[in-house]
């Protein structure tokens, strides 16, 4: 009986979530009183195995399988490892690539799947914690199954640190190429351009609370008055109101300014991934329960359309 965690790498490097998986995996393994196994699929498997050899890991499985992630390969490899090891829990990252293979793995193995997990408990019944309604509530999902799959939310567990002495097992798994029906042809960097919001000391950031394109001006004026740089959450960029290089978050830029002023931004997990490293976070949001207040150092729970002009007036 094991917990089997699937690590993630891209373009030669393990991603942070791989080390978080080790911590989460150890926690789940302890709760279920089993071992923690980790798999490295593709890439420089030997090097990655060494990097993942942290305290708490019992066995690391390496499977050479091309350089980059391909879900047709991953599903076959995991299927084969799972048949071999019969893991109690298959633990995968709730990353963009995790979302591209975990549901298929679960379906292929006929196992229940709980995604975007932020907590786990087996003291009484086996259960996972996850959020709903845009992070406004948490739910407990009880898992009444001997075997199951979970994907864990990135940035939720600490990265594993201490040195380990895991056993490394090398595998050769034959891939049925006829079942690989997608080809990755390249990568593209997006969000370039003249402004680099990750350089800014002060960011004034606008979200969907602004309602209309013409209202963006209001926030621009504040940014100008403060000598700050304008950034935004995703919906503003999706709507084409600001260019992609202004987007803060998981799929935009990671920023670490001295001051981050979030105006009409709820603080969704993918947004927070890009700004949680700011020194001082200030929120202006009408909803006192908005998740952004979990991070904020200062807040104004009021209508941005009333507060922002007053604020701008002070500095112009």
């Amino acid at each position: 009986m094991t917990v089997l965690a699937i690590s993630e790498h891209r373009r030669g490097e393990l991603r942070d979530v791989s080390f978080e998986l080790l911590t989460a995996g150890r926690e789940v393994a302890d709760a279920l009183d089993t071992d923690l196994h980790v798999a490295v699929i593709g890439g420089d498997v030997a090097e990655h195995a060494e990097e993942l050899n942290h305290e708490g890991v019992d066995v690391i499985h390496t499977v050479p399988a091309g350089e980059e992630f391909n879900h047709g390969v991953y599903t076959q490899v995991i299927d084969s490892l799972a048949t071999d090891l019969d893991p109690r829990v298959l633990l995968m990252p709730n990353s963009v690539n995790g979302l591209d293979y975990a549901p298929a793995v679960a379906n292929g193995l006929s196992l229940p799947l709980v995604t975007d997990v932020i907590g786990f408990d087996a003291s009484d019944a086996v259960s996972a914690t996850r959020e709903m309604y845009a992070s406004k509530v948490e739910t407990t999902i009880e898992i009444d199954a001997d075997r199951f799959c979970m994907t864990i939310r990135p940035n939720e567990w600490a990265k594993a640190e201490g040195a380990g002495d895991a056993e490394i097992r090398e595998h050769e798994i034959e891939i049925d190429e006829s079942r690989v029906r997608s080809t990755v042809t390249g990568f593209e960097e997006v969000g370039g351009g003249d402004v680099d919001i990750s350089d800014a000391d002060v960011l004034v950031s606008v979200g969907r609370g602004i309602e209309e394109e013409e209202n963006i001006e209001l926030i621009e004026e504040l940014a100008d008055a403060l000598g700050a740089t304008l950034s935004s959450s995703r919906p503003i960029v999706d709507a084409g109101w600001l260019p992609k290089n202004r987007q803060v978050g998981q799929s935009g830029k990671v920023v670490t300014p001295d001051v981050y002023l979030a105006i009409g931004i709820s603080g969704a997990v993918q947004h927070v991934a890009g700004m949680k490293g700011a020194d001082t976070i200030i929120a202006i949001n009408t909803d006192p329960n908005a998740p952004i207040y979990d991070l904020a150092d200062y807040g104004i729970v009021d209508d941005l359309f009333e507060v922002v002009p007053e604020l701008t007036a002070q500095f112009s």
Binding site: D100, A104, E138, I141, E188, D294, A296, G299
Partner: protein, 266 residues
């Protein structure tokens, strides 16, 4: 060509919602229903493909109660040709429909409709599982791609050239064999507003109601080893200093703070 687009009506919780101890869901009176944000982009993508390719039909599929017909009409008004809505007493009774159940129900619709392309949203903004589309793909033996923010369809070549939006401003360029399920990311297109003409036409478009039995499914399709056993408001981790008063007073205090921090001189 036929495109199947999944359309979900999602609930958003009002700012002042209350959740009594022991409740397994937020009471209806605090919920506002709307078309899932991600599905709006899926609908638009399907309609655009139909506009660019002759003889292409766009069919939407929704698992949802009668209430959701209003949302489905919005999709019809934007150019979806016809809609399927699945509901059943057996679905009414489950508090939590897991990914497998949804995929099984949608797979039965795929068997019936035989589409060339299925478009789903990356996730639903109420429960955010983000897994239905890809679970469906594996179940019906379609190829797939998750989190697609650019799509270029080569119908003759049987390929979809897609960009998958990865983390950190990187996109993966991938060729996906058809038939396929693509989970669509926001921003892939600019969803249109329904025209008055579209809204009028939508009134006469068909929303076919299906029960599970119509799809050769038993009520046990909803059986799951997973159950939602509690829902609660997370304890706030907030340690924010909140400025109080009139908007002017609030702005004054914040302005003072920014001044003290040296954000602006003077």
């Amino acid at each position: 060509m036929k495109i199947l687009v999944t359309v979900k009506e999602v609930a958003e919780a009002a700012d002042d919602f209350e959740l009594p101890d022991g409740a397994l869901d937020i009471d209806e009176r605090y919920l506002e229903y709307d078309l899932n944000e991600w599905d709006e982009y899926g609908v638009e993508e399907g309609v655009q493909i139909a506009e660019e390719n002759e003889d292409t039909e766009v069919v939407s599929v929704t698992i949802g109660p009668e209430r959701s017909e209003e949302t489905i009409r919005m999709a019809l008004a934007k150019g979806v040709d016809r809609a399927i809505r699945i509901w059943d007493d057996a679905l009414e009774d489950v508090a939590f429909l897991d990914v497998e159940a949804r995929a099984r129900i949608l797979a039965a619709v795929v068997a019936e409709e035989d589409p060339d392309l299925v478009l789903t949203g990356v996730q639903a903004n109420d429960d955010g599982f983000g897994a239905t589309g890809i679970a469906l793909a594996d179940r019906i033996d379609f190829e797939w791609a998750a989190v697609v923010n650019h799509l270029d369809l080569d119908v003759e070549g049987g390929l979809a050239h897609v960009h998958r939006e990865l983390e950190g401003g990187v996109e993966e360029l991938t060729d996906v064999e058809l038939p396929a399920v693509l989970s669509i990311q926001t921003g892939i297109n600019e969803p249109r507003y329904a025209s008055l003409r579209g809204i009028r036409q939508a009134q006469s478009k068909e929303i076919v109601p299906y029960e599970l039995a119509d799809l050769d499914l038993d009520a046990d399709v909803t059986d799951s080893p997973l159950s939602l056993t509690s829902m609660y408001e997370p304890e706030t981790e907030s340690s924010a200093t909140v400025f109080e008063g009139s908007p002017e007073e609030e702005a004054d205090q914040l302005g003072e703070l920014l001044g003290e921090m040296g954000v602006v001189e003077g």
